[in-house]
């Protein structure tokens, strides 16, 4: 037998359920543009029906008892999250690679006239001018000047590249700090989420925050995420565990003061940390591959050139009939310089092969070095051309990879938005819906009230 006030409770349940739904709709609308927010939905279930066997069998089966807003869940696709994190990792890595390569291209400045290639051209030409006037001091002085200018250009580019490397090391430091800070925050939230889930709750907003941190971590260092059944997550760098419910790692970065080399290690074990992807991977690749390679290539080119040039120069004679002098002081790219005595006394330039002033065969021999295989088995122009070609190709490839990664990230982002994003039109529609239901429930309560009124006040008088 049903209680007299049964209807009131039923109406009341309807009222608060719709109210809860309106609250959630309001929450969605308020967070329409919150980063990382997933829209939430109230799950309404019919409350447990009345219906036990008794002597008075109730016709029609169980009696419904109304509704309960049993849970609020967020709409999120974990698979899309996983794909997004992969895309972010890839994008972050290639954006960093591309950025540094473009900086290198800017320093190298080819094709251009004020570049290393241009300075070499002027040097070879002024050498040829000396061959036309081997006795002439002015031509020799011009040669020494262009050689000094060549050294300046090379040294400047070398220094600029080293500077890029140094700034990159600083950026790596900052990024590592960001990673560490994110991991700390992640650990705390991870624990909170797991505790809440253990109590049977849906900590939707906490989970949104956690996902946002995971996205950030993926961009920074290319992590992958495993969702545990307890509600917590385990974060991996490749196959290494970086964070779980009971432990968290930190990363240490150190710079070798002599070489400028950067090394990343696990703070706990001291072992090497190799980022699986993300900005850190890109920055490390640029720092330990791209920059040392091009700097090393320039150094090889310059020191081979200087050594060969000096060797031939030593065999020749200056205007004073003295032989055995070096044209360049010892050094390489970064420390390249014309020998002090050449700078002070251009007549020492060994243009002659015999000591006679009008003999230019010494200079002709120096000029012929340009087309001989003096750097790693190829002529210097070819070697330099190969450096530029490698740089250009690499940069172009990196740009292509960035475009591809960006495209994928954007596609996944849009799909994620499609699943989890708030549609204001939709929420407004829901508002109407729940508002009507609320109004109807209120009307129902009024009706029940009138029934009770009739029962209590107007029956049996």
């Amino acid at each position: 037998m049903r209680s007299s006030f049964f209807g009131l409770e039923l109406g009341f349940r309807g009222l608060i359920a719709q109210q809860r739904a309106i609250d959630v709709t309001g929450h969605n609308i308020a967070n329409a543009h919150t980063e990382g927010f997933s829209r939430q939905r109230v799950n309404m279930t019919a409350s447990p029906p009345l219906g036990t066997t008794s002597m008075h069998k109730i016709a029609g089966g169980h009696i419904g008892t109304g509704v309960v807003a049993s849970s609020t869940t967020r709409l999120r696709d974990a698979l899309l999250d996983h794909r997004f994190q992969l895309a972010q990792g890839r994008l972050g890595e290639w954006e960093q690679r591309s950025s540094v390569l473009h900086q290198i291209q800017y320093v190298i400045d080819e094709p251009g006239e004020m570049s290393i290639g241009g300075a070499f051209d002027q040097f070879w030409n002024s050498l040829s001018d000396v061959s036309n006037h081997p006795e002439n001091i002015a031509a020799r002085r011009a040669l020494v000047e262009t050689a000094a200018a060549l050294a300046d250009t090379i040294n400047q580019r070398h220094a600029d590249l080293q500077l890029i490397r140094k700034s990159l090391a600083d950026m790596i430091d900052v990024t590592v700090s960001q990673v560490n800070a994110t991991l700390v925050e992640l650990r705390d939230i991870n624990v909170l989420v797991q505790q809440s889930v253990a109590q049977g709750d849906n900590p939707n907003d906490l989970m949104d925050r956690r996902d946002l941190l995971l996205d950030r971590l993926a961009r920074l260092t290319g992590v992958t995420v495993q969702h545990e059944s307890r509600g917590d997550v385990t974060v991996f760098n490749g196959s290494q565990r970086i964070l779980d419910i009971s432990s968290m790692q930190q990363i240490t970065m150190s710079v070798d003061p002599a070489t400028g080399d950067v090394s990343l290690t696990w703070a706990g074990s001291g072992g090497e940390f190799v980022p699986a992807g993300g900005e850190l991977k890109g920055m490390i690749a640029a720092h330990s591959e791209y920059l040392p390679e091009i700097i090393g290539d320039l150094e090889t080119m310059v020191s081979s050139f200087m050594n060969e040039f000096n060797t031939v120069h030593r065999a020749g004679f200056g205007l004073d009939g003295v032989s055995g002098r070096d044209f360049f002081a010892p050094g390489t790219a970064g420390t390249m310089a014309v020998a002090q005595d050449m700078l002070a006394e251009p007549s020492y330039v060994a243009a002659s092969a015999s000591g006679a002033a009008g003999d230019n065969s010494g200079v002709l021999a120096l000029m012929s070095l340009r087309h001989q295989a003096i750097v790693a088995g190829v002529p210097i122009d070819d070697y330099y051309g190969a450096i530029i070609s490698r740089l250009g190709t690499r940069t172009r490839q990196a740009d292509g990879a960035v475009d591809a990664a960006l495209l994928i990230k954007q596609q996944v982002e849009i799909r994620r938005e499609s699943v989890s994003g708030v549609s204001l039109d939709e929420e407004v529609t829901h508002l109407l819906r729940y508002q009507h239901a609320y109004g109807a429930a209120a009307r129902f309560i009024t009706t029940v009230d009138e029934l009770l009124n009739t029962l209590i006040n107007h029956m049996g008088r």
């Binding site: 230019n360 530029i388 740089l391 549609s423």
Partner: protein
Amino acid sequence: MRVTSGMLTMGFTQRLHERGKVLWDAYDEVSSGRKVNRPSDDPASTVRILQLQRLLSEREQFERNIAESRLWLELTDSALERLGDAVIRGRELAVAGASSTLPLESRLALAAEVDQLFEHVIQVGNSNLAERYLFAGHNTLARPYVITGLNEYDFSGDGGEVVRQISRDTTLAVGIDGARVVSPVLDALADLAAAVRAGDSAGINATLLPQVEQALDELLAARAEVGARGNRLERSQESLLSSKLSLTSQLSDRQDADFAESIMRLRLAEAGYQGALTATSRVLQQTLLDYLR
């Protein structure tokens, strides 16, 4: 697929960025006038451009070297011409001195003229281009011919070949050794003066006239050589010019943007960008709230 306003804004932002990138690239090309502004724009072209730039620069230098060489050759040639005139005069004097019927005064007068001719040839032998002596071989800074007495001289040239680089694999000798063309003339003149003073008309006929002829032959041969080298330089210069034209045009092909094409691309990019903006503005403005009540 569910479409949210967030998706719309995302999509629009992405499209605007894409269109903006196209606009930027088009602008880059128009404002720089270059198709290749950095190696990554076109790595293969960049390498070719660098090669062409090197080749052009080399050729410009060779042009300078050729101009220098022509100067040297021209001066040498004019010196040889004056030398030729002197030898011809010397031959006339020798023929006159070969006559056995010359009185003493005439002989002395003749010998004095030979002395004068000797000094003149010394001067020609010391021809120089801005104090670099043409006939001194590699000892260009010192006067090769120094008078040490009446019809006596010292020669300090070393016979070294003066060469200039006129192309990547070619050097050209631009000088003539004084010992080959000037010294024989001086020797002949010295001998002639002595013979005339001694009245040795038989000796003049027998050995001096042939000696002078030989000097003249050598001179003519040297002039022919100089002429041939001059022609060669001229041909090299022409070939350099046409090579430069070809290289310059290739370089421009690779490097320079076709202005008309670039402007057109810029216009298209602008239109594309505006299209994206228009589409965005039309769709973003409508919501359900506009239509309720």
